[in-house]
Structure formats: structure tokens, C-alpha cells
């Protein structure tokens, strides 16, 4: 049993032999942040009274959604057998949208705690992250969490875990992030089992950036793990991908509040502040070296995060366009994965086409823009990127359906993903059926244990990116989990379906679908819009078309009555408030031609689920 360390090792003068760099990998909600909290508390780096749940999840949105978006690194002291060790804990994002960031965090470590909820067992992201950890040659410590839960099945899942990583069930540690049980033993085990970092202290400095965060007060804060050599304050540094040089204004470690240090040596984890204001100048995965004695070879594994889904973002109120532009500019400083360019829509006016890592990334971005800049936004149906080859061999990349070329198309390629689905065996049939309707090709199937399978499919990204996960969840009664990664592209028979309101094409509603699904899409969209668009003073025909061919139609009858007939006996205030409410409602409408279209209509295409039928048509 180890008390908290009395003397913490000093940064820049820490022998790599007493350093342990580790991360916690887990499926979402398996308790990574909570366990991290307990570690901070037990090691005394966060005082009891400052403790708040999910201490490291700093952004408001993270707190509200209970998810970790940006990773953070914390230096914590821990004593075993009279030796004070320095543990660097890296909390990684758990969502599939942020896989690249996870992989960089892993590359900064020698070991990983594989944390599994003892009431849930292994899930898809457990596996995905485990594969990433193994690719990075990390030593794995298997841990079952939440053993305090009455529903916990420690024996069953210990066996499953042991089976997965090839160990013995008895070696699986049992902890509860909630009560703190087993956490001290876990810290001891980290010290005993994980290898110390190795590196050449005399070689030119090489440090890997595993996170880069914009901070209003300090500018960009870059988190690094030193591999070789050392970094020290007041020394010019250089980014190896661009050879850009920066002054080093501050260097230090987080514990978890930033503490400036005399530098960082081999194996150490800390932060750098250079005064740059844009995370793009300090990208995750890049290698930092020194200007005076630069390394010649960058560390492996660097690449730009690639946006997978695109959506148009438009201000509800056209005059907010400059606000949106500035907001995106600001957000970009903090999010290297975000890309955007201006676009105009006949229906929505001026806006931006924005590329995201996934749907969660889109939602978070939109929410932050709305919240932090007081904007009211319309986001158009998300889209993947298609590569269209015209008959004259010209190649166009289409991220916006309204830019889909008409006619003269030789070939269209769509992005594909390799998906891994984990679920109890009883749901195999339902999952296969779902994947088949989504044009998936079965890659293989393995039993993880008697009652649990891993199913691998190759699927078009467009088929899984919107509502696939929700449907998977409902088809597997919540037990199914999903992970995917990009897997090249394929030729596909795709068409553009246009939606017409009153005979006029509304570019914001156009979609690219597989030819076999165009009809279903047209029927679904026209039906939904009929439900979502309120009745106007004139009839509004809604049509779906491929080129000039109409494939589905609906119509919204003209409204005939819109007046409060009853006199409220002098309660004029009530009537006025009603009117104000109606006016407020009107503000949430976008004029498309002469038609008032509510915001919800623009995200209707996000899900294929039926529109609510009981919605009264007032």
C-alpha cells in the first residue's frame, strides 16, 4: 500500500527510470473520467475541496454531455517501496469522431489501462482503442470498473477480458472509480508493470505533439511527450512538418494546473507555450525539435485529420453572416480538424460549407457556435465527399449535393469504412439485416465469448454516418456498439434527389443517394416536410425529383383560419403575449421563396425515422 509521495520528482531533472506514462482507454461512459478524478484525489494533486466530478473535462459542453472531447495530461507523484515515481496520466477522448487524437495520445505512452465497465463488458470502442494501443506496442493493464454496481459481473467480464488480451482472469484488477476501491493498487501496478520510457538524452530534441488547445489567455497550449533530448525555456523550437520556428515563452507540466518548469527531459510529458494563436501552427502528431540543434527525422505517424462529413452552416438571420464568419475563424484556432469555406445557397443565403470528423463533431461545433456567439444556425443535411469523374476525365470532389454535376458522369466514387460491431449473439440476424440494407459487405465474424460476437462489415460512410448508430442501438436493445475507420472508396450508382417547394428547387434539401434508395428518400423527405412546414396562406406542393423526373409528391393545404375568435374579457395582455409568441415562432422560420420553413425542416434529412404523426397542423 503506497501513501502519496512526500517529495515529487522535479521536471527536467527526472530520471526516465522513475517515469511512467499511461493512458486510460475505454468505451464511452465506462468511467474513465471518474477514475482519473479518483487518481487526482488519491495522489493529492487536487485538493479535496477543489474536486469536482470529471475534473479534467473542462469545456462546458463536455460537462453537460458528460464526454471528454479534448485530452489532457497530468503529472502525478506516487510512491512505491520508498521511491517517488512520476506518473503522467493522459485522459483521451472516447468517441470515434476523435480517433486520431486518441491514437496520438496513445503514442505518447508506454502503457494503457484498459478500463471496462463490469456491468457492460467489452464494447466496440474498447476493442478499437485496444487495437490502437497494441499497434503502439503499449503494455496493457486490464481493469474492470464499477464493481460497486449490483449489476456488475466481474467474473464473467474478467474472463472475457483475459480471453481478449491473452492473460489470466485473476490478473484483471477490480476497481470502482466511484468509491475509490482498488485505485491505490492500480497505481502501484502502473509503477510495477509499465516500462519506463527510453530515449537518447543527448540526441537532438524530438517531442511529439499529442494535443494542442487554444486558451484565450495563453494562446495555444501544446502538449508534448519528449522522446529524445530535452527542451528548455527561452529556446527556439521548430515544427518538423513545416519547419516553422517559434519562441518558447513557457514550458511546464500540468498537475493539473499549469506549473512552469526548467524544461522537459526524456520521457517527460508537459506543455509548451509559444505565443501562437492558431492550433494549426502546432498540430497534433507533429514533431517538435529545437532550432539550434534540429533533429533530422520526424517521429512517425503524423497526418492531418481528415474531415469525413460536410454540412452547410447558415445563420437564421442573414445579417448574422459576419458574426458566423468571425466565430468560425475563432473556433478554428482551437480545432485543427475543422475546415470550412464560404458558400451560398439560393434558399439560405450566405453561409459556410464545413467539414467535420463526424456527426458528434458537427453537433458540438454547432452548439459551441450558437452558445458562445449567440447565433441561431441552420445546418443542412450532412454529406460525405464524393469523387465524380466526368466523361471528359475531369474529376470533381462534391461535398455539397447542389454541386453534383448534371449529366456526363463517367464514374462516382464514395468513401467506405471498415466497421466493427459488437453485440450479444442473439442480435446477429438483426445486425446483418441492417448492414445489408445499408449496402454493407460482411468481412468476418468472431466470437469474443460464448454469447458475444464481433461482426466486421465494409460499408459506405454515407450509410452509417447519420442514423446508423441509433438504429443499431434500438435493434440490439442498447447492447450493440459500433466503431469504424475510413477504408478507401468504391464506385457506386448514385443519383441526386432534388426537393421542390412550389415547383422551385430548394438546394438545401438536395441529397445524393444510391439509385435504389432514391424513391424511398423522396417519399420520406416530402412526407416529413409536409409534417414540418406549417400551412401557409396558399397551397404548397412538395415534390422530389431526379433531374426532371418527379418521383414523389405531397402537398400542404393552404391555411384558412388564423385568428383568435374569442374575446378574453379584457385580458388584452394574454392576447398580446400570444401574438408575441407567434412572432417569436416566425423568427424561427426561414423564408424560402414565399414559403416559411422552420429550422427543423433543414435537419429532417438527418434521420430516416418517421416524422411524428401527431404534430398538429396549425
Amino acid at each position: 500500500m503506497s501513501p502519496m509521495a512526500r517529495t515529487a520528482p522535479v521536471p527536467a531533472a527526472t530520471d526516465p527510470a522513475i517515469i511512467r506514462n499511461f493512458c486510460i482507454i475505454a468505451h464511452i461512459d465506462h468511467g474513465k473520467s471518474t477514475l482519473a478524478d479518483r487518481m487526482l484525489q488519491l495522489t493529492g494533486v487536487v485538493q479535496q475541496r477543489d474536486m469536482k466530478a470529471q475534473y479534467l473535462d473542462r469545456m462546458d459542453i463536455e460537462r453537460e454531455r458528460g464526454i471528454t472531447i479534448k485530452s489532457q495530461a497530468v503529472r502525478i507523484p506516487w510512491e512505491v517501496d520508498g521511491t517517488a515515481y512520476c506518473l503522467n496520466m493522459i485522459d483521451t477522448p472516447g468517441h470515434v469522431d476523435f480517433t486520431y487524437e486518441v491514437s496520438r495520445s496513445l503514442a505518447a505512452c508506454e502503457g494503457a489501462i484498459l478500463l471496462v465497465d463490469a456491468a457492460q463488458g467489452i464494447e466496440a470502442q474498447t476493442l478499437a482503442n485496444l487495437y490502437l494501443a497494441m499497434e503502439n506496442n503499449l503494455t496493457i493493464i486490464p481493469v474492470l470498473n464499477k464493481i460497486d454496481l449490483p449489476a456488475a459481473q466481474p467474473e464473467k467480464y474478467a474472463a472475457e477480458l483475459a480471453n481478449l488480451i491473452g492473460g489470466k482472469p485473476e490478473d484483471v484488477l477490480m476497481v470502482s472509480g466511484k468509491t475509490g476501491a482498488g485505485v491505490e493498487e492500480l497505481l502501484d501496478q502502473i509503477v510495477r508493470d509499465l516500462p519506463a520510457p527510453k530515449g537518447d538524452p543527448n540526441a537532438p530534441a524530438r517531442a511529439m505533439i499529442f494535443d494542442s488547445v487554444y486558451d484565450t489567455y495563453r494562446g495555444v497550449v501544446t502538449y508534448v511527450r519528449v522522446i529524445d533530448g530535452s527542451l528548455s525555456p527561452r529556446e527556439k523550437i521548430q515544427m518538423m512538418s513545416t519547419r516553422a520556428t517559434h519562441e518558447l515563452l513557457e514550458i511546464g507540466v500540468s498537475s493539473p494546473e499549469p506549473k512552469p518548469s526548467k524544461g522537459l527531459g526524456v520521457g517527460e510529458v508537459g506543455y509548451l507555450i509559444t505565443g501562437v494563436k492558431d492550433v494549426r501552427l502546432s498540430k497534433v502528431g507533429d514533431t517538435v525539435t529545437t532550432f539550434n540543434k534540429p533533429a533530422t527525422e520526424a517521429l512517425a505517424g503524423y497526418h492531418d485529420a481528415k474531415p469525413m462529413v460536410f454540412s452547410g452552416l447558415y445563420p437564421m438571420d442573414g445579417t448574422d453572416y459576419p458574426v458566423l464568419r468571425d466565430a468560425l475563424e475563432k473556433l478554428m484556432l482551437n480545432d485543427a480538424a475543422l475546415i470550412y469555406e464560404p458558400e451560398t445557397s439560393a434558399a439560405l443565403g450566405f453561409g459556410f460549407r464545413v467539414g467535420f470528423l463526424g456527426l458528434l463533431h458537427l453537433e458540438i461545433t454547432r452548439e459551441r457556435l450558437e452558445r458562445e456567439h449567440n447565433l441561431d444556425l441552420i445546418s443542412t443535411a450532412p454529406n460525405v465527399e464524393y469523387e465524380v469523374t466526368l466523361e471528359d476525365k475531369k474529376v470533381v470532389h462534391v461535398t455539397n449535393p447542389s454541386e453534383y454535376p448534371s449529366g456526363k458522369i463517367a464514374e462516382v466514387r464514395e468513401p467506405m469504412v471498415a466497421a466493427t460491431i459488437l453485440a450479444p449473439t442473439e442480435f446477429v440476424g438483426a445486425i446483418m439485416e441492417l448492414c445489408q440494407t445499408r449496402r454493407g459487405i460482411l468481412g468476418g465474424m468472431d466470437y469474443l465469448s460464448e454469447d458475444r460476437v464481433e461482426i466486421r462489415y465494409r460499408l459506405p460512410l454515407a450509410e452509417i454516418v447519420f442514423d446508423f448508430f441509433d438504429i443499431l442501438k434500438s435493434k440490439t436493445r442498447g447492447y450493440g456498439s459500433l466503431d469504424w475507420k475510413a477504408d478507401g472508396d468504391q464506385v457506386a450508382d448514385l443519383v441526386k434527389v432534388d426537393i421542390l417547394l412550389q415547383g422551385e428547387q430548394v438546394d438545401a434539401f438536395s441529397a445524393i443517394t444510391h439509385r435504389d434508395k432514391a424513391y424511398a428518400y423522396g417519399v420520406m423527405m416530402t412526407g416529413k416536410l409536409r409534417e414540418l412546414i406549417p400551412r401557409q396562406q396558399f397551397e404548397v406542393p412538395i415534390q422530389a425529383a431526379i433531374g426532371a423526373r418527379i418521383i414523389a409528391r405531397e402537398s400542404i393545404r393552404a391555411i384558412r383560419k388564423d385568428v383568435l375568435a374569442k374575446c378574453y374579457g379584457g385580458d388584452i395582455s394574454r392576447k398580446r403575449k400570444l401574438l408575441e409568441k407567434q412572432k417569436e415562432g416566425k423568427k424561427r422560420m426561414k423564408m424560402v421563396g414565399r414559403v416559411e420553413v422552420p429550422q427543423e425542416a433543414f435537419i429532417a434529412a438527418l434521420t430516416t425515422a418517421e416524422a411524428p404523426k401527431d404534430k398538429s397542423k396549425k
Binding site: Q537, R557, I559, R560, K561, D562, V563, L564, A565, K566, C567, Y568, G569, G570, D571, I572, S573, R574, K575, R576, K577, L579, Q582, K583, K586, S616, K618
Partner: protein
């Protein structure tokens, strides 16, 4: 009439003194009195007015004492107005609404009226109305009301069709209405009837029957309201549970058009979206006072008042109301003082409902820009607009709220 939920507003002082703006220009404004009588024999399933049955109040005691309490508020009102710097003004109209005013003995109603006339006086030929349920009046009670100063009675007929009356929970028999109307006429009272259209299960033919039947009684005035499903009523619950079909706006529109055609044919012309009268003089002057933004004091639980851009409303429960007045305090629960913009907005909202219309010159240049579009959509009468007044067409009356919103954009 008073709705169930009170607005949120500022606190109102116990002495009832009004903000200074209330007195500005008061000498040139008309002044009316509304008296709310919060009692009914039974509660109709669609109604959310501030009214209580004897059972709900735990006995008839508060009904017996009500006239005295109401007179106390009349006296309070006169004092508070004078203390707020308002000049003495004769009553231009008086309206007793409910609830069911005629559930109280006629003597109680005339006593309250008498107290008000004694304090303020009454303009020559002023209209004094009471609402009445057809089965809550007798030949004698109507005569007594007439003798005590009432000039007009408004009967809650609602429908002439038994199955419709049943869905509405109305207790009276259809034959009772012509009887009551005849007694009122005998007594020398002006007569109005209220109708409701669009009740679940009411066919177009049912509605035509109700309209024709109402017209056959030869009323001076008819109010026709589309049934509104108010939250929290029994009707709303029945619709939610699927026990009765939901109401339908298109059905309402068709029935409105039919009613308007039949009323005009019979010589009754619209003067407000839901009101028709035989002559302009037969239009309910008290109702017009609301739409024109005149001053009125509303006595009774939950009653609303308006004086010079200050609106306030009383506490809702009869007991709480009586307690306040027993302590000599204002029964007001809250109030709001409207700024110039809000008053302008209310004026558009209210006067655009009237056949006398809205003077276009009083509109802002932006609002005026909307008029061409409204004419193009056939919502506004073009000739009257060219002559300077905004008046709704038939189609415009049905889309009156849309017109108001267009003018306020």
C-alpha cells in the same frame, strides 16, 4: 369573462394608486365598468373562465356575500382613481360578465350597478349589459334587471342542436332560449345571443340549424365564437384521450363563412371579427371599448382593468379577493405599464379586428409597406385602404392574426 391563467406582471400596490401616465389625457377618454361574477351552476367542459361552482367553493356563502364585496371594490375604485389624479367621469358602458351573473339574485346585480352609478353617474343612453344563461333567468328576474337599470342581455345559447349542447355540457334545453329571449324583449331589453361553432361532432348542417334558429329569434346582436380548446379543461383531456375528435381549423373557416353569409342575409353586419349587429348602435359598445383601447375598471376576482396604458388584474380566487377588500387593500394581483411601442402594437392588434378599421396614417412607414402585400393576398379591402383605413376582407378576418403579424414585422 376572465380567463383562467393570470399574466405575469409587476407587483401592484395595496393602495391601488396608478402610475402617473394613467391620468394623462383621461378627460378625453371614455370610462367603462366591468363586473365579474365568478359563479356557475356547473362548469362547462370547454370553459376556462375564472368561475366556480357552489361545490367548488364549499357552499353558497360566498355567493350570498358577493354583492357586498363587489360594492366595496366599486368604492375602492372610485377612491383610487381620484387619488391617482383622474378626473371624475360618467360611466360610458357597464358589463356584467361571468361566470353566470344571473346566478345571483337580480337584486344583487342591480345593487352593484346602483352603487357604481351613484359614485360615477351614467352617460345618457349608456349600454348596461349582463351575460345570462338561458336557464338562469325568469320573466320576473329580467324585468327586475331592466327596472334596476340594465338595458341589454346576452344569452349563452351556444347551439340549437341537442347533441352539440351535450358535448358542450350545456344544461339548458334548446326551447328555453326563445322563451328567455321573448321575456327579455317584453321587459324592454336589447338582446344578444352567443353561439359556438366547430364543436366536435357538429356537422355543417348542425351549424346552419343553430345559425338559422338564432336568427329566427330576431336578436339585435350575435356573437359567434369558434370553439377554443383551452389547456386544462375537461374538453382538452377528452380530446387528448381520443374520447372526442379534435377540432379542425378548416371546419371553423367554412362555418365562419357560412355564418357570415347567413347573418348578412338576415340584416346583421359584422363590426368585429366575432360579432354582428343589426344596426351600428346595436354593436356592443362595451366590447368596442376593449378593442378601441378605452379605459375601464374591472371589479371581481380575476377581472382585468385598463386605464391609460396601465393594465392590471385581480387575484383569482373569490376568497382571496374578499380578504383583500376586507383589509381595505387593492385586490390587484399584478399590473403592467405599457410603453409607447407596446401601446402602438396593441392598437394595431385590437383595432384591426374592427369594421371601422385602423387609420393607416397612424402606422409606421414599415407597417405601411406591408399593406400592398395584404391587398394582393385579398386580406385587406383595397378601396378602404386607398381611402386611408385598413379594413379586413372576409378572408382577412379569418386570417386576422396573420395580418396583425405582417403589420408588426
Amino acid at each position: 369573462m376572465t380567463p383562467s391563467a393570470l399574466p405575469l406582471g409587476d407587483p401592484a400596490p395595496a393602495d391601488g394608486i396608478l402610475p402617473a401616465q394613467a391620468a394623462v389625457g383621461a378627460a378625453d377618454r371614455k370610462f367603462s365598468l366591468y363586473a365579474h361574477i365568478p359563479f356557475c351552476a356547473v362548469r362547462c367542459g370547454y370553459c376556462d373562465f375564472n368561475t366556480y361552482t357552489a361545490t367548488e367553493l364549499g357552499g353558497g356563502a360566498s355567493q350570498d356575500a358577493y354583492a357586498e364585496t363587489a360594492v366595496r371594490e366599486v368604492e375602492f375604485a372610485a377612491r383610487a382613481l381620484a387619488a391617482s389624479g383622474l378626473p371624475p367621469r360618467k360611466l360610458s358602458t357597464v358589463f356584467f360578465g361571468g361566470g353566470t351573473p344571473t346566478l345571483l339574485p337580480a337584486g344583487d346585480l342591480t345593487r352593484i350597478l346602483g352603487a357604481a352609478i351613484e359614485l360615477w353617474g351614467l352617460e345618457d343612453g349608456a349600454e348596461v349589459t349582463t351575460e345570462a344563461n338561458p336557464d338562469s333567468v325568469t320573466r320576473d328576474s329580467l324585468q327586475e334587471l331592466r327596472d334596476g337599470g340594465f338595458t341589454r342581455v346576452s344569452f349563452g345559447m351556444q347551439s340549437a342542436v341537442p347533441h352539440v349542447l351535450k358535448v358542450l355540457d350545456r344544461t339548458h334545453k334548446p326551447e328555453r332560449v326563445p322563451q328567455a329571449v321573448a321575456w327579455a324583449r317584453e321587459a324592454g331589453l336589447n338582446v344578444s345571443v352567443d353561439l359556438i361553432y366547430g364543436t366536435p361532432g357538429e356537422s355543417l348542417a348542425d351549424w346552419e340549424t343553430s345559425v338559422r334558429t338564432a336568427l329566427s329569434y330576431g336578436p339585435d346582436h350575435i356573437s359567434a365564437y369558434s370553439l377554443i380548446v383551452e389547456e386544462g379543461t375537461k374538453l382538452a383531456a377528452q380530446i387528448r384521450r381520443g374520447q372526442v375528435p379534435n377540432i379542425d381549423d378548416d371546419d371553423h373557416a367554412v362555418k365562419y363563412e357560412l355564418a357570415d353569409a347567413l347573418f348578412s342575409e338576415a340584416g346583421l353586419n359584422w363590426y368585429e371579427v366575432s360579432n354582428w349587429s343589426r344596426t351600428p348602435e346595436d354593436a356592443c359598445q362595451h366590447n368596442l371599448a376593449y378593442w378601441r383601447g378605452d379605459d375601464w375598471w374591472g371589479i371581481g376576482p380575476g377581472a382585468h382593468s385598463h386605464v391609460g396604458g396601465v393594465r392590471w388584474w385581480n387575484v383569482k380566487h373569490p376568497t382571496a379577493y374578499a380578504n383583500r377588500l376586507d383589509k381595505g387593500e387593492s385586490p390587484a394581483a399584478g399590473r403592467e405599464t405599457l410603453d409607447a411601442d407596446t401601446r402602438a402594437m396593441e392598437r394595431i392588434m385590437l383595432t384591426s379586428r374592427l369594421s371601422e378599421g385602423l387609420a393607416i396614417e397612424t402606422l409606421s412607414p414599415e407597417a405601411r409597406k406591408a399593406i400592398a402585400g395584404l391587398i394582393a393576398q385579398e386580406l385587406v379591402d383595397p378601396l378602404k385602404a386607398f381611402a386611408g383605413t385598413l379594413v379586413l376582407t372576409l378572408k382577412g378576418r379569418l386570417l386576422g392574426d396573420a395580418v396583425t403579424r405582417a403589420l408588426l414585422d
